[in-house]
Amino acid sequence: MELNARVPAGPLAEKWDNHRFANKLVNPANRRKYRAIVVGTGLAGASAAATLAEQGYQVQVFCIQDSPRRAHSIAAQGGINAAKSYQNDGDSVFRLFYDTIKGGDFRAREANVYRLAQVSNEIIDQCVAQGVPFAREYGGTLANRSFGGAQVSRTFYARGQTGQQLLLGAYGALSRQIKAGRVAMFTRREMMDVVLVDGRARGITSRNIITGEMESHVADVVILATGGYGNVYFLSTNAMASNVTAAWRAYRCGAGFANPSFVQIHPTCIPVHGDYQSKLTLMSESLRNDGRVWVPKNQGDLRKPADIPEAERDYYLENKYPSFGNLVPRDVASRNAKEQCDLGKGVGSTGLAVYLDFADAISRDGRETIFKKYGNLFQMYEKITDSNPMVEPMMIYPAVHYTMGGLWVDYDLMTTIPGLFAIGECNFSDHGANRLGASALMQGLADGYFIIATAVANYLGTNKLEQINEHAAPFLDSRRGCEDRIARLLKNSGGGPAGKCTVDEIHKELGRLMWDNCGMARNATDLQAALEELPKIGKKFWDHVYIPGNTREINQSLERAGRVADFLEFAEIMIRDALTREESCGCHLREESQTEEGEAKRDDANYSHVSVWEHGGDGAPKLHKEPLSFEFVTPSQRSYK
C-alpha cells in the first residue's frame, strides 16, 4: 500500500492556494455528465452533496435515517471554532492551527490542519448567509465563547444546539438541490459495500431498509461521510445508528485505516446506571468552567455529599494541576476520574462516578447567575437522573465520545482507493491523537463545503473513466456478496431462539471487552488478552446469534446484527493499533509509557507517524506508516501542571 499524502509544496500559508491553482478543473458544462455518490448526511455529507450539486454534478445521497436532517451531527451541543478573531483577543489562523495540532499531541499532518484553520472563517460566513441563528451580542454582532480550555474566545454557538442549527443549514442547502433535481436522495438506505472497477471506486451496494432489497448505484466518485465508530464500545454518546460499516467495507476493499485506536473519551457524561442502558448522555464541557470536581478522600465513603466536610474531600484536579485545575483537557480529566474510581473513591450506586459541584459557584455568583448559564443542562440532567444540581452535586463519568481514527486520506481527502473519498469524522485527517472541543463541526463543514469539490474536480479532470452500468460484473458480485452475508447472519435463526444469544448481548460483551482493555488506559498484557478473547466473541456471534424475522422486510435486529458483525472484525485493528503504539499520546495512554509523575509520555523518536492498517485477506492486517514531519511547528510535551 502506497501512502502518498500529496502535500503541496510551498510555505504553509500558501499550500492550499498553490494546490487549488495546480489542480485540474472540470468545465461547468461538463459537470452534469459526472455522477458523485455521497454516503451520509451529517455536516460533512450534507454540505458536500449540496456544494457538488450547486456546481453542476449529478449527486446521489444516502442515509440510514428516515430524513437527512437526523444525522448524528444534529446532537452536537457546544459550538464550532473559527479563527475570525472577532474578540480581538490574539487569535489568528496560525493560532487555531497551532492549538489544533498541539491539542492532537502532534500526531496530525501539518498541511491539512493549517488548511482547516484557513477555511474556518468562510464556514461561519456561509452558515450566517444560510440563516443559522447563531448567538448574538446586544449590538447585533456574533457572540463567541471560550470552549474546552482554549485561551481565546473563538467558538460560535446557537444555544446548546449548535450541531442542530448547522446541520439544518446544510440540510436546507441539500433540500434546495433535491428540489432542483440535481440531488437524488435515498433515505433509509444502508451502504453495504463499495464497488471497485479496475481498482477504482465506481459505486456502492446498499440495502433498502424498508424492503430489504439490495441495490446497486453507479458513479464516478464515491464520498463517504459516514461518521465515527464509537459504538464499537456499545455504550457511547453517539447516536444508536452510528457505525463502522461503511468505513470497514471500504477497508476490506483496500482502503487503509488510520490510527483506529485513537478514541476520545469525554470526561463529563452522565454515569451508567443499569445494564439495560442503551446510550450515554454528554453534559457540556462548559460545566467545568464553574463546577469543581471532587471525590471523598476516604475509600468507600458512602455518606451523602453534603455530609462530607471540606477537609475530607479531594479536589484532585485542582490539587494535581494547579494552573489548569478543573479545565485540564478532556483526556487528562477522563483518566484522572478513572484513577480515582479505580482507587475505590468513586461515588454513586456503582462507584463509577465523581462529583461535579456547583456549590461554590452558586455562593460566589448567586443562584440566578448559575442557573442562567447552566439551567438547560441542569434540567436535562434532572430529567435523566431525578436529581437537581442546584441542590446536590452532579455525578459524572467519562464516556466514549469521538473517534479521531478513520479512513486514511491524502491532502485531497482521497483514500488509498482511487475515486473513494472520506470526509468528516469518518476520516482521520485533522485531529491527531486528540480532538479539541468545537473542532469536529468545523472539520466536517470544511471538508464538505470548501475542500471536497476541489478534490473531486482534480480527480475527474485527471482520470478518464469508462462508461459502466449496474449490470457490470463487479456490481453483480458485490450484490451477491452482500446477500450471502445476510444469509449467513440469518443461518442460526431457523430453529428458534432456544440456547442462542441476541445481537445486543454480543454487542455488550464486545463493548465491555473494549472498554476494559482498550479504553482510557491501555497496557500490553490487557491488549494481548483482548486480542485472544475477541475471536471467541466473534465465533459466538456467528454460531449462536439469533435474529428474528427475515430479510425482505423492516428488520431492525438484522440491521443491528450487520453493524455488530463489522464492529467485531474492526475491533481487531483497534486493539492491534493500541498494542503497536508503545507510547502515550493524546487520548492514547500506554501505562508502560508514563513520566515519573504519572503523565502521558510521548515518544517522538519512534512514533511520530500515522499508523495505517491494510486488510490482509485471511491473514493478519498489515501495518504501514506515514511519517509525520513538522516543518513549521516544534513538537512540545504537553504540560498542564
Partner: protein, 252 residues
C-alpha cells in the same frame, strides 16, 4: 430513588403498510424507574426475541431529544404525559406499577405506517424542499458580522428554529395539519434579514406543498403546541398566516 414497576402494554402491531393492524397486549415486570421509555421498549424487544416473537419496530437514533426520530402516542398523547420531552427523554418514573399503557404510532393521512410504530414522515422533508431555506450557494458570502442582527431577534429566530421535525404536532392535530412545523421554518427565516429576499415565494410554496401532501387546515385547536417537545409556540402560526397573506395580496 429508583424502584421497579410492573406494566401492561397495549402496542399497535402492523406487519407492513398494507396489512391490518391491531393492539397486542404484553406484560412487562421489574422495569426500573430509571429507564427511559425507549429502554423499556428495548427490554420488551429482548424478551420478545427470546420468546421467538417479532420485536416491535420503532424509530429512534440520538436518544437525547434532538434528532426527532422517535415518537409514539402514549395513552392518547404524543410523546407521552410529560411536557416538553420526546419519547426518548421520557422516563419510567412517570408511571406507576400496575399501569396499562396504550402505545400507538403517530397517525396522520400524510404519515403512512410502515411497520408497528414506524412511520413515513417524508412529507415533512418535501415541505422544506419546497422553500424552507435561503437560496445561497457555497462560497462568496459576506463576512458574518456584516449584517448585525439584534440579539432578541436572533433569540426569537432560534426559538422557532428549535423544531426537530418529529411530527408530534401533526399527529395531535384533529385536522392533521402541519402548520406548526411549517410555520416554525417560515418564522425562523422571516425573523432574520437573510430570509427576507425570498419571503413571499417561500410562504406560497411551502403552504402549497403542505396542502398537496394531504395535511389538513389549522382551526386553532392548539393541540400541536401542547405536545411539542421543543415548546414551539403557535405564535409562529400567526406569523405564517401574516407572511402568507402578504404574499397572496402582493402577488395579486
Amino acid at each position: 430513588m429508583s424502584s421497579s414497576i410492573n406494566l401492561t402494554l397495549k402496542i399497535w402491531r402492523q406487519p407492513h403498510s398494507d396489512a391490518l393492524g391491531s393492539l397486542e397486549t404484553y406484560t412487562l415486570d421489574h422495569i426500573s424507574t430509571d429507564m427511559s421509555f425507549l429502554e423499556m421498549l428495548d427490554v420488551l424487544n429482548e424478551k420478545l426475541t427470546k420468546e421467538g416473537k417479532d420485536p416491535v419496530a420503532f424509530d429512534h437514533d440520538c436518544r437525547e431529544g434532538i434528532c426527532g426520530m422517535c415518537g409514539a402516542i402514549v395513552d392518547g398523547v404524543a410523546h407521552g404525559p410529560e411536557k416538553e420531552v420526546t419519547l426518548c427523554q421520557l422516563h419510567m418514573r412517570h408511571f406507576k406499577s400496575g399501569d396499562t399503557l396504550v402505545i400507538e404510532p403517530f397517525r396522520s393521512r400524510a404519515f403512512p405506517i410502515k411497520k408497528d410504530l414506524l412511520i413515513d414522515r417524508s412529507a415533512l422533508d418535501r415541505i422544506i424542499q419546497s422553500g424552507g431555506y435561503v437560496s445561497v450557494n457555497t462560497g462568496g458570502t459576506p463576512d458574518g458580522n456584516s449584517i448585525p442582527i439584534p440579539a432578541k431577534q436572533a433569540e426569537l429566530a432560534m426559538d422557532a428554529a428549535a423544531c426537530i421535525g418529529c411530527g408530534a404536532c401533526v399527529a395531535s392535530c384533529p385536522n392533521g395539519a402541519a402548520m406548526l412545523f411549517t410555520s416554525a421554518k417560515i418564522s425562523q427565516l422571516a425573523l432574520l434579514p437573510q430570509g427576507q429576499v425570498e419571503g413571499k415565494e417561500r410562504a406560497l410554496a411551502m403552504v402549497a406543498q403542505m396542502d398537496s401532501e394531504g395535511f389538513g387546515n389549522c382551526t386553532n385547536a392548539r393541540e400541536c403546541e401542547a405536545v411539542c417537545p421543543k415548546g414551539i409556540s403557535i405564535r409562529n402560526i400567526a406569523r405564517l398566516n401574516r407572511e402568507y397573506l402578504t404574499a397572496v395580496l402582493s402577488e395579486g
